[in-house]
Amino acid sequence: MRPTLNILSPEMISAILVEAKKILAEIGLEIRGAGLRQRLLDHGLKPSPDGQRILFAPAVVESAIASAPKSFTLYDRDGRAHAELGGSNVHYVPGSSGLKIMDHRSGETRLANSTDFVEYARLCDGLEHIAYLATAFSTNDDIESRVSDAWRLYMVMVNSKKPVVSGAFSEHGVPRMVEMMQLFRSDRAELVAKPMSIFTVTATGNFRFGEDSCQNLIDCVEAGIPLEIVPVTLMGLIAPVTLVGALVFHCVDTLAGITLTQVVKSGAPVLFGGAPATFHMKAASSPMAAIEAQHLNVGYVAIAKSLGVPTQAYMALSDTKLLDAQAGAETMTSAMLAALAGVNSVSGPGMLDYVLTFSLAKLVFDNEICGQCLHFVRDIRVLEDLPAADLVSYLRQNDHLITSPQTLKYWPKELYLTDPVFDRENRENWVKGGSKDAYQRACEQVDRRLAAYVPIETDARIDAELRRLVRSGLEQQTELPVLPPPPAPAAAGAAPRRGTGRRTRV
């Protein structure tokens, strides 16, 4: 049995869905993209009396839910199956939309650049509990904004083979990115059959899908790229402050998004997602780690599961400004809730400060939290410990169970050994080790992991073509930013080479 959380009764779920479908049918959504709007009309959907919105008839919505896949597979750069999104499978993924980086070397929080991004990609490549990457933060002014989405995708693809959650920054950004990904497949059909990315389509609230989102949605669905529909449901600002009402508003946006994908192409893979936050009435901020936002997250996930649609949520993150106690508390709380609720793709690790600031140290720390949460939600099974008479007998004979056959057989998998970022030393050894706090330990692990990064090879012709594709979108800029070379590889099991030049010989 898997530890599970479900906060809504079937009756409550049904009532929320009835209300959401009613709003979709009677009030409808503003679909600002002309192309997508026309496709909806061609599909038989009706405009509202004032012509401003599209009315989503319940039958169309229900048909879309039925045609959306219950699960789908993400593949890595080499075309190997990497992650199955569906059921109760939980995957943690770095958060997205950051602008700044908290520099783990200087402690300064500043605008991020391409060097930061490459380090992030190399670090993330080796994180055991981060299933795939995201184009997590902007590189700001070091490349023209019209190709910054493709540039980030490039940096991910040449530094890691893991799949990636990404998105386009402009109405016409997707085709270039599709061309880039297709270079790692034999043709477009193989890219459709073996997708290596999930793209985000954001619903901005007020029952509206903007021009960029509409065009990106069409382009992605036609290229076979799975989508995550991510409404930004702000409780108390543009959505009800109360949970049930907020869930209704959230479902209107996601059900509309799912319907849009299925109208473009029936069977298109899509995630029922979200990035909810509360509106803080005193600070005028929008904390995504607020406990009410977590309530909303696990609520809509329960609804999505009742519909059989795979899920995404912005969880396992914190709104504080540094890796402190609040960061630990907020991240662990939401990461564990996500694990218990069975969120298929959890976006958030590495993020601070209302998803504005990314921290490599926080990412390493979160990787450990994710590992612990994944350990917690494993199926609970009888492992030669029921009945327990043999174990009792062994204990009585030996006064301990350390060397019992059952301990020796099961401890490697049943006892979770934490990464050094979590302190498990006694006080004396902790003092001897420099009395380091979690942030210091995390910074050390960032350096260690970066030094241990093993570069991946990219065929020189593919690399050149990728760079050409990015460069083709530049208007004023003539050269792409210079990227840091990979570190010299370190010996497995030996001290990192970078920094000290030490490598013990045997």
Binding site: A491, A492, R497, T500, R502, V506
Partner: protein, 496 residues
Amino acid sequence: MAAAVRQLPFQQLVNRYAPIEILSADQVDAIIGAALTILETHGMRFLEAGSRRLLKAAGADCNEATLMVRFDRSLVLEKLSLAPAEFRLRARNSSHDLHIGRNSLVFCSVGGPAFCSDLDRGRRAGTHAEVCDFLRLVQSLNVIHQESGGPFEAMDLPPESRHLDLYLAQLTLLDKNCQANGLGRMRTADCIEMNRIALGVAPAALAQDALVMAIVNSNSPMQLDIPMTEAVVELASSGQACCITPFTLAGSMSPVTLAGTLAQQTAEVLAVATLSQTVRAGARIVYGSFASNVDMRSGAPALGTPEYAKAALASGQIARRLKLPLRSSNTTSSNCVDAQSAYESAMSLWGAIMGHANLVYHAAGWLEGGLTASFEKLITDAEMLQMMAEFLRPIAVNDDELALDAIAEVAPGGHHFGTAHTLAHYETAFYEPLLSTRQNFESWQEAGSLDAAQRANRIWKQLLAEYQQPALDPAIGEQLADYVAHRKQAIAAGAG
């Protein structure tokens, strides 16, 4: 003024005793067969792309997705047959040239630790000046035949160019053969070129004799990383010697059983040997054994253990069957120069020597599982090495040695102190220790009650004070200094 430090003269050792064989011939065959099966079925991961291309061209099966290379056993055995069973390693002083293979035995000082230590200042990050002091002691201790490629890291020098300072120190402070730091192509190539200059060898004649050897550690289990691969290729292509040593610690980096560990160790050696022979047929290689175990309570490496000694003896049998020279080590897990450091080292040395190792790496100075090079341990080990050297001198059995006249001369209950036979032989009859004390308790107390480590501390300081730098042609010295300056400029300019 202290009396001169007593030492045996520099001598190439020969082990004339029969090796201890703890495996039957069938068991040796089974282990080698298992190694070949590992290479055929699973293969070894080669991280460096060029090596995979070379091996693929030679007939190996390379998977570019997993970086795994699988070897048909006929390919491995064909390549293995090209490797020489013995070779010469030249030194700047030709009387210090070394023979590697057959019954020859070479002791090499400790190489590669992160720290250094002595009784005065404890364990610490080392400096270049301290590295030079250690090198002077290696030169001074006659029982040490070879320097290891750097006793510890000089942390006051930049990592990208400190190997050049090390090589310059090796070639000026010693006239013995010195190993390279085989961490990548350039570090290896720099050592080869500087030795070529120092020994006055023409570039075209470089491959005729080995001037340089380097240790190449595979990343067990079953992986060879990029810097180590570069060293293998550089050494083979220039005709220099490569000691292929998997880092197999049973229970963590290899199976918990010794047979499985030996099979994996052999598989890794054979995979790298195949690469080496593919680069250059007849490349000089050594079968390196470092099989030990971990402490299953803590996961820490356990060294100088009974398992280590058994693995050393068995590795000797495997290496002889493969017709390759054998390397072993003198190891201990102890953190200081204490009884544990001595008895674990003694255990290691017995395994190495009676397994017929041709090269004992880390033979003097190793402490703390290889994390520290100790000035005092250098001396205590030198004592044990001298004792081993003396142990290897066979018992002569002839009329003079049987001494029947002396036996007849001494009445029952008398003594042999004054016999002509004793007077003729006493000066050379017995080994004279470097470090051990034979004082009675009172004399020892009067001399300060010094234990072995404290006495070793005095000895290395005395050796350092009495050190005499070997002569070097000033023109060659200048060439070496120019080479180092030129290479440092290139490194600073990003040329690697």
